[in-house]
Symmetry: C2
């Protein structure tokens, strides 16, 4: 890997998401060598992926080059690579560009889509955990509209204009809302020959409420917003299968749809090699102690989505979201420094600053600890928080400019098919990488 | 294709570039049905492709959705398709989505890279005529730097950091300048472990001057600018071959380079079917008369890069640039309207408003009819003209914001590898689509 051996201890961080970046930041300007490894050369601001998928933002403005983030930091190394295995016995990782020894290891690999073992859904449904995947959705939505124009078969046209989003969490809700905004403001203008009433947006949730992690009020109000926007919300309905044409469920309803977006589950992005020493939770997250240390290891931390720290308050671990990831990253950095200085490590306490989701224009729901609110003020809060959280002035400025433009003009101008999505199912795995 | 038959004459335009858009605009709000066909769903502002390729701009801000451009125009139809053949006998075109009859046809298919029959170069060199191709170059440049970090073989590292641009026209000059800016301001910060002196940017021109279409002063000054930026300019040197490793020339020099960008020639993007009736020039452009009508046809026009209208002043036809394309598009629209109203068609007279090229920060050359100037003022003029020419307020605003940011911060923040470029040569044709 061509990383120099120094007298400083080497901390290797796998993953440049919210957790990994927070850890790297906490380790800046210390007597350490830090190596950050990621399979992309940029950090992805995942909360805004749905806007890339629906033509509201350009992908480049929610990505930030990882090298730039740390290019004024000494003893910091970035490597573009995929990690294939961890050898805890030899304190070494195996990657696509060679092996690397570590003194301290931080696993911050994040999460990937959980299809719960259903190979059909994995093959035919779209996922949205990365920028290329979001761009695939953008292309597919537009390609299906182009195709809908051409067919004289009404059933086929309906299927091309039928969108099924499985999973009523924030991703599903925000995507459904954004598609509904496209249905209102943009697609009827772009496709005046199509009967826009044929466009259906279905949001399917297996339980009795959407936005399950939020308050009952937020859940109700979000559903209300979605219905007002014309989304068909299906609760207590479980998707069983999708063969590329028809979504079957455990109810009487089935859906003929050319576009199915699977937002019904995530799981930890586990790395091979620790099977004998570590436990992994049901959602494929490493079980960690209160210091984010892997069970049976003293120098391997797991943080963020890939870590499950269970407690009385969090029987299934902390939510797989940016907030706990950043907090765990920051603390893991501190704990590594404490340990190396023979000080005591500090237990993690999650400071839940609140959760929020946006549904559409002037419509969002926000749950703070002592204050829950919905509507236009919530929407402004949502925008402010997300704008503020983006890395880099340029990204903030461009996202802001897009939002102002989109708001004033009722528009989404990046409805571009830059790389067509190949429906040819055999090549899907290639295309989504 | 599902386009209604009306009593209005149908004008079909193939291609939504500068020429096609100008023609479509000229045919707005007339008693006509206009069908615009393009293989992309957006117009590409080609003059700024090199900034996408070098991380200065996001692709979405130099693209404009074609449907949006005309979505308030009646009797206007856009179809996303590739045209495979023209049947002049039946007044019909064949496309990837079916056949379509026309009353008047405008061929505005533009130009594609001309490899002059060299299959090796076609296979191994990069081209830059479309947004996906520009993104491929962006990815490859960054991937090669990542690889250069890893190798312990000095010759391999040199080849990975060696950039050869073939062709000293505006594209080659602007790309070489932009790479030189990256070498100065960005890559040394991102890759502090690499000896940036190993990075070479070679611009190879077969004739004795770069920017051949411009004044001698502009050519000299541009060369001067490039040399100051650290570009190696090779004149009177002809590239003979490239096997993916080594560029061979008709001189003593050869270049071991992992990145070769071929900007040495373009040719018309001819459509099949008119071989028996039409002549095609050496650069594969349809020979047209003074009304842009194809020889031997009364209802097929060719405009822009794909048309060659020779005259005393233009023995090889007009330059393959935006200006003549837009002017021919506008006139072809007028001439079709004149013809349908039994009025006389007007001969095309090219109004050369001037040519310009930028080399880098504060460095550009501008040739106007009576005024030729170079340097910082030329650079501002270049920026103003290009900003002004972009379609859409959002694109203008975002490009402007990026330019201001890049200028103040000496930065290029979209150095992102969103879709890695597969060097595996077999798959190149797939990746560049």
């Amino acid at each position: 890997m061509n990383i120099p051996q120094t007298s400083f201890p080497r901390v290797v961080i796998i993953g440049g998401g919210f957790a990994g970046l927070a850890a790297a930041k906490g380790l800046e300007k210390q007597e350490l060598q830090v190596v950050l490894i990621d399979k992309h050369n940029y950090h992805t601001f995942q909360p805004l992926l749905y806007q890339v998928a629906t033509g509201g933002l350009e992908p480049d403005s929610i990505a930030f080059p990882l090298r730039k983030r740390f290019n004024d930091v000494d003893n910091f190394y970035f490597r573009l690579a995929e990690v294939s295995k961890i050898n805890a016995d030899t304190n070494e990782i195996e990657t696509s560009i060679g092996n690397l020894e570590y003194d301290q290891l931080i696993i911050a690999t994040g999460a990937t889509t959980n299809f719960f073992g259903n190979k059909n859904i994995e093959k035919f449904a779209m996922e949205m955990k990365s920028i290329p995947q979001a761009l695939n959705i953008r292309s597919l939505v537009l390609q299906n509209f182009e195709e809908a124009l051409l067919t004289s078969d009404l059933e086929e046209r309906k299927a091309l204009m039928n969108f099924v989003i499985v999973g009523g969490g924030p991703t599903g809700v925000e995507l459904a809302g954004a598609l509904a905004e496209m249905k209102k403001g943009i697609l009827p203008k772009d496709y005046p020959d199509l009967d826009i009433r044929l466009m259906k947006i279905n949001l399917i949730q297996s339980s009795g409420e959407i936005l399950k992690g939020m308050s009952a009020k937020a859940s109700e109000k979000a559903e209300d917003f979605l219905i007002k926007l014309g989304v068909d919300v299906w609760k207590n309905l479980r998707v069983l299968d999708y063969d590329g044409k028809t979504v079957t469920t455990n109810g009487e309803d089935h859906f003929n749809a050319e576009t199915v977006i699977w937002a019904a589950g995530v799981k930890g992005e586990i790395v091979k090699g620790l099977e004998t020493t570590c436990k992994v939770s049901r959602a494929a997250r490493y079980e960690v102690n209160e210091f984010n240390l892997l069970l049976n290891h003293t120098n391997i931390y797991a943080i963020g989505d890939v870590a499950s720290m269970t407690s009385e308050n969090a029987p299934n671990g902390h939510p797989m979201m940016a907030q706990p990831a950043m907090q765990q990253g920051a603390l893991a950095a501190k704990n590594i420094l404490a340990k190396l200085n023979n000080n005591k490590q500090k237990a993690f306490v999650y400071n839940n600053k609140g959760t929020m989701a946006t549904v559409g224009r002037n419509k969002a729901v926000v749950d703070l600890k002592n204050f829950k609110f919905q509507g236009i003020f919530a929407w402004f809060v949502w925008m402010f928080v997300h704008l503020f959280s983006l890395i880099g002035f340029r990204n903030k400025a461009i996202v802001f400019l897009n939002w102002v433009y989109n708001y004033i003009r009722f528009d989404r101008e990046t409805r571009l098919i830059i790389r067509p999505y190949k429906k040819n199912k055999a090549s899907k795995t290639t295309a989504t990488k």
